[in-house]
C-alpha cells in the first residue's frame, strides 16, 4: 500500500442530502487519492448520482464537509467546479447534435475576440484535444452524424478539455461503447492516472470494475458501506455488500397461492426481438401470477414492454389464451385487456393540468359513452370517486388537478386509470419510482390484491429487493437478452450475477 494519506485530493466527510423528508445520502464518507481510479458501486437509486451532482455543484449538501486539494470545497455551479479542476462526464449526453464536434467540445469556452468566435483557433484547439486523447474522430463533423459510441467519446473529450483537471468523474461511460472504444477509454484513464489525476468511476460492469479500479467503495440506500482495495475483494463479496439489505416487512404477504406451473399461461411471448433493443425474449405468465423483470438500465426491459403494448414494432409471436394476437397499437393492446403503467408517469401517464377524474377515466372513455358520443358524466364521477376510495388516493376532490398531488398519489391515479379498463394482463414498469415508503407499501398491497383476483402481472423494476419481494417468478435481462428465469426464492446474489453478465 504505497499511497500515503497526503495523496488524498478529495475527502468527503459526513455528507447528507435531504430532499424534503427523504434522505438521498446519509453521512457519506469517501477519500479519493491522486493518480488512482476509485469506483463507486451501488444499485440504481443507491445515491451515486446525488453524490456526483453535489461534487459537480448541481446540488448542495444539506450537511457535512468536502475538502478538495486541501481546502474546503462547496461549488455553487458546474463552472466553479471546473475552475477548481473537477470535471464530470455524465451518462446522459449533453451535446448539441446540429453543431460540430469542435463547437461542442469547447462550448462556452470558445476562443474569441470581442465576442466574435475565432473558428480556426476553435478547430485547432479541439483537434489538439482529440489527438491528445487518441480519439478517431473528425472535429469538423456534426455530432448528429456520429454513432452513439462516438458521441460518448466526444462527451468525454468535452469533460477532459478543462484547463487543469485534478479529478475526473466518469458516470457509466462505457454503457454505449463497443469494445474498441472501451479500450480507447481505458488508455485515456491510464494516461490520466500517470499524470496524477484522480478518477471516480461509476459502472455496473463487474469485469470492467475489477480490471480498472484501484479502490472500490460500495454504497447502498444512500449510506456508505465500505471502501476496499481491488486486490482485497472478490466480485461475490462486492455484490453481497451491494444488495445485502434485510428484506423485512416492506412487502405485504400474498393473499392467494401462486398459480401451479401446470396451469395454462394467459400470455406467452416467444422469440420477441427488436433490432438494437432486445433479442429473442421468450416468457409466459399465468392468471394471478406476478412475473418480475429485473435488469440494469439499458437491459431492454422497458423497450420490450413498450413493444408488447404496441408502441413499437417487434418480431416474434404473442399468444393470449393460446391464440395468436397481433398488437400493433395501444388500441389493440387495450382491446386485449392489457394495461401498461409506464415508467414515466408525468410524460406518458397523466395529463397534469387535468383533474383526477379526467385522468382516471381517460383510458376507459368508451365505458362512459352514451348515444351520439355523449359522456355519462354521473357514471364517470362515480367510477372516479370509487377508484379514489379503493386505492386511497389522497386528494381534496376528484376535481383537483392531478399535478398537485404527491408522487405516490399520482402513481395511484395512474393505477386507477388502468384498473378502470379491467385489465387481465397488467404491465407495471417501475411502479414505485419516486414514491415514498408509505405509498410504496400501499401500491404493493394493491398489486397483491389484483394478483389474488386473477390479474396476470408483469412487474418491471430496477430495484432488486422489490422484484424479489413481490414476484412469483423472476426474469433477468442483460443487454437485451433474457439470461435467466429464476424461481421466486432466488437469492439477490444469483440475480445480480445474471444481471451484470457474470453468469451466463
Amino acid at each position: 500500500m504505497s499511497a500515503a494519506t497526503s495523496d488524498v485530493i478529495l475527502k468527503i466527510n459526513n455528507v447528507s442530502k435531504l430532499f424534503g423528508p427523504v434522505a438521498a445520502l446519509k453521512n457519506m464518507h469517501l477519500e479519493v487519492r491522486a493518480g488512482r481510479v476509485h469506483t463507486l458501486l451501488g444499485e440504481n437509486g443507491a445515491g451515486k448520482s446525488t453524490l456526483m451532482k453535489i461534487l459537480a455543484g448541481v446540488y448542495h449538501a444539506t450537511t457535512g464537509e468536502v475538502d478538495f486539494c486541501g481546502s474546503p470545497y462547496k461549488p455553487e455551479n458546474p463552472q466553479e467546479a471546473a475552475a477548481r479542476g473537477l470535471t464530470i462526464v455524465f451518462q446522459e449526453l449533453s451535446l448539441c447534435n446540429n453543431m460540430t464536434v469542435s463547437e461542442n467540445i469547447l462550448a462556452t469556452r470558445e476562443p474569441s475576440v470581442y465576442g466574435f468566435i475565432n473558428d480556426q483557433a476553435l478547430e485547432r484547439r479541439a483537434a489538439e484535444i482529440v489527438r491528445d486523447l487518441g480519439l478517431p474522430i473528425d472535429v469538423t463533423e456534426k455530432v448528429g452524424n456520429l454513432s452513439m459510441a462516438q458521441r460518448q467519446l466526444v462527451e468525454i473529450a468535452k469533460g477532459l478539455s478543462i484547463p487543469n483537471p485534478r479529478l475526473v468523474i466518469l458516470d457509466e461511460p462505457t454503457s454505449s461503447l463497443t469494445d474498441a472504444e472501451t479500450e480507447i477509454l481505458f488508455s485515456i484513464i491510464d494516461r490520466l492516472k500517470a499524470k496524477g489525476v484522480a478518477v471516480i468511476y461509476i459502472s455496473h460492469r463487474m469485469e470492467e470494475i475489477m480490471r480498472l479500479s484501484d479502490d472500490i467503495t460500495v454504497i447502498r440506500d444512500g449510506e456508505f458501506i465500505a471502501t476496499r482495495q481491488r486486490e482485497d475483494v472478490t466480485i461475490d463479496e462486492l455484490i453481497a455488500m451491494m444488495v445485502g439489505r434485510q428484506m423485512n416487512e416492506i412487502y405485504p404477504l400474498r393473499l392467494a397461492a401462486a398459480p401451479a406451473t401446470s396451469e395454462a399461461p394467459i400470455l406467452s411471448v416467444e422469440g420477441f426481438s427488436r433490432s438494437g433493443e432486445f433479442e429473442n425474449v421468450s416468457f409466459d405468465v399465468r392468471k394471478g401470477e406476478i412475473l418480475g423483470f429485473f435488469g440494469l438500465i439499458g437491459s431492454g426491459r422497458s423497450e420490450m414492454m413498450n413493444a408488447l403494448f404496441g408502441m413499437k414494432s417487434a418480431t416474434g409471436s404473442i399468444r393470449i389464451d393460446g391464440e395468436t394476437a397481433t398488437i400493433s397499437s395501444p388500441v389493440d393492446a387495450i382491446g386485449r385487456r392489457i394495461a401498461f403503467v409506464t415508467e414515466n408517469r408525468k410524460e406518458e401517464g397523466l395529463v397534469l393540468a387535468h383533474s383526477v377524474e379526467w385522468n382516471i377515466s381517460m383510458a376507459a372513455l368508451g365505458r362512459f359513452a352514451a348515444a351520439l358520443g355523449f359522456m355519462r358524466k354521473r357514471q364517470e364521477r362515480k367510477a372516479a370517486t370509487d377508484e379514489v376510495g379503493r386505492l386511497t388516493i389522497k386528494t381534496a376532490s376528484v376535481d383537483t388537478p392531478v399535478g398537485s398531488l404527491s408522487g405516490g398519489n399520482q402513481q395511484k391515479a395512474v393505477l386507477a386509470k388502468w384498473l378502470l379498463t379491467q385489465p387481465r394482463i397488467l404491465i407495471l414498469d417501475e411502479p414505485t419510482r419516486g414514491v415514498d415508503v408509505g405509498a410504496k407499501f400501499e401500491i404493493y398491497k394493491i398489486i397483491r390484491q389484483l394478483a389474488a383476483e386473477g390479474t396476470a402481472i408483469l412487474l418491471v423494476s430496477s430495484e432488486l429487493p422489490e422484484v424479489l419481494g413481490m414476484s412469483d417468478r423472476l426474469v433477468v435481462m442483460h443487454e437485451g437478452r433474457l439470461c435467466a428465469t429464476l424461481p421466486g426464492g432466488a437469492t439477490p446474489e444469483t440475480v445480480m450475477a445474471h444481471a451484470t453478465g457474470i453468469t451466463s
Binding site: P330, G349, H354
Partner: protein, 323 residues
C-alpha cells in the same frame, strides 16, 4: 374548515364560472362602462345587436380556432379559407347551382381545406404553424384563380337574406352564431370526442398510451376549423353581396386573440367555448365602441393590442395567484 368552504365553492356552478372567467368578465364590464360613459348611445339594445352581428364572422372562426389551439396547434389559414368559401359560392351560383347545393359545396370546400391541414400536420408530423402558413398562401392564391383577382358578385336572394333578414325578431346571422356556439360547446364539453380533444392537447403521449387515436382527433379538428371558417366566409360574402379576393385577411389573428382572451392555453389542453365567446365579445365591443367615438383606425389598432395584452396578463396573473 377552509377546505370545506373551498369544496362548496367549487361545486356551485355559478361560483365556478365566476372564478374561471372572472378576470375576462371584469375586462368586458369595464370596457362597457367606459364606452357608455363616453357615448350614451352605446348601451342600447339596438347597438348590442349591432355588436353581435359585427362579431359573427370572427366568433364563428374563433370557435374553430379554439379546437385547434386546445390541441396545442394553430391554424393560420382560416382567413384564406374564408375567402375561398365566398369565391366557391359565387362560382357555384355562376355555374347555375341552387342555394342548397352551393351551401353544401362551400362547406365541403372548407372541410377539404381543413383535411389538407390536418393530414399534413398529423400524418407527416409537420408543425401546424408551418403547414398553415404555407396553406394560407396557397388558399389565398386559389381565390383569385377563377376571376383573375376581380371580385365576383352574388345575387342569389336566399344567400343575401342570411346576412340581411331577421327570424323571430333576431337577425339570422345572430341565430347562426347562437346555434354554432351551442353546437361547439356541447361537442367540446359533453361528448367523448371533446374529452379526447382535451386529453390529446393536454398530453399527447399519455393520450396515445391510453388508446386515443390522436391522429384521427387532430385531422377531425382541423376539418372542424375549416368548416367553421367556411361558414364565416358564407356570412361575410352574404353581407357583402359578393366574394372578395382579399376577404378575411388577417382574421386568423382576431380569432386567435378571441380564443386566447377567453382562456384557451396555447400550450394545449385548456379552454372553453364560453371563454372564446366572451373573448370575441371583447374584441367586438372594442371595435364598435371606438368606431362610435370616431377614433381613427390606427389608434384603434394600438388600443386593441394593448387591451389584449392587459387582459391576458390579468388572466395569467390571477391563475398564477391561485396556484
Amino acid at each position: 374548515m377552509s377546505d370545506e368552504k373551498h369544496a362548496s365553492f367549487a361545486q356551485n356552478p355559478y361560483a365556478k364560472m365566476l372564478r374561471q372567467y372572472g378576470g375576462i368578465l371584469a375586462s368586458l364590464v369595464v370596457l362597457c362602462i367606459i364606452f357608455s360613459v363616453m357615448n350614451p348611445r352605446f348601451m342600447t339594445v339596438a347597438n348590442f345587436m349591432n355588436v353581435l352581428q359585427q362579431i359573427a364572422v370572427i366568433a364563428i372562426a374563433a370557435f374553430g380556432m379554439t379546437w385547434v389551439i386546445l390541441l396545442g396547434e394553430i391554424d393560420l389559414s382560416i382567413g384564406s379559407i374564408i375567402a375561398v368559401a365566398g369565391m366557391a359560392a359565387a362560382q357555384a351560383f355562376l355555374a347555375g347551382f341552387g342555394f342548397v347545393p352551393t351551401l353544401v359545396l362551400t362547406l365541403l370546400a372548407g372541410a377539404a381545406m381543413g383535411l389538407v391541414n390536418g393530414v399534413l400536420t398529423a400524418k407527416l408530423g409537420l408543425p401546424s404553424f408551418i403547414v398553415t402558413v404555407a396553406t394560407m398562401g396557397i388558399f389565398r392564391g386559389l381565390v383569385s384563380l377563377p376571376t383573375n383577382g376581380a371580385p365576383a358578385m352574388i345575387e342569389d336572394p336566399t344567400w343575401i337574406a342570411i346576412g340581411a333578414e331577421s327570424f323571430v325578431g333576431l337577425p339570422i346571422i345572430i341565430w347562426i352564431v347562437v346555434v354554432l356556439f351551442v353546437f361547439n360547446h356541447v361537442l367540446l364539453s359533453k361528448t367523448t370526442f371533446g374529452r379526447r380533444a382535451y386529453l390529446t392537447g393536454g398530453n399527447r403521449e399519455a393520450a396515445v398510451y391510453s388508446g386515443i387515436k390522436v391522429d384521427r382527433v387532430k385531422i377531425t379538428i382541423f376539418m372542424i376549423s375549416g368548416i367553421m371558417a367556411a361558414i364565416s366566409g358564407i356570412l361575410l360574402s352574404s353581407r357583402l353581396y359578393s366574394a372578395q379576393t382579399n376577404a378575411g385577411t388577417s382574421y386568423e389573428l382576431d380569432a386567435i386573440a378571441a380564443a386566447v382572451l377567453g382562456g384557451t392555453s396555447l400550450a394545449g389542453g385548456v379552454g372553453t367555448m364560453i371563454g372564446t365567446l366572451i373573448g370575441a365579445l371583447i374584441i367586438g365591443i372594442m371595435n364598435n365602441g371606438m368606431n362610435m367615438l370616431s377614433v381613427p383606425y390606427f389608434y384603434q389598432l394600438i388600443v386593441k393590442g394593448l387591451v389584449i395584452l392587459l387582459a391576458v396578463w390579468l388572466d395569467v396573473r390571477s391563475k398564477r395567484a391561485k396556484q
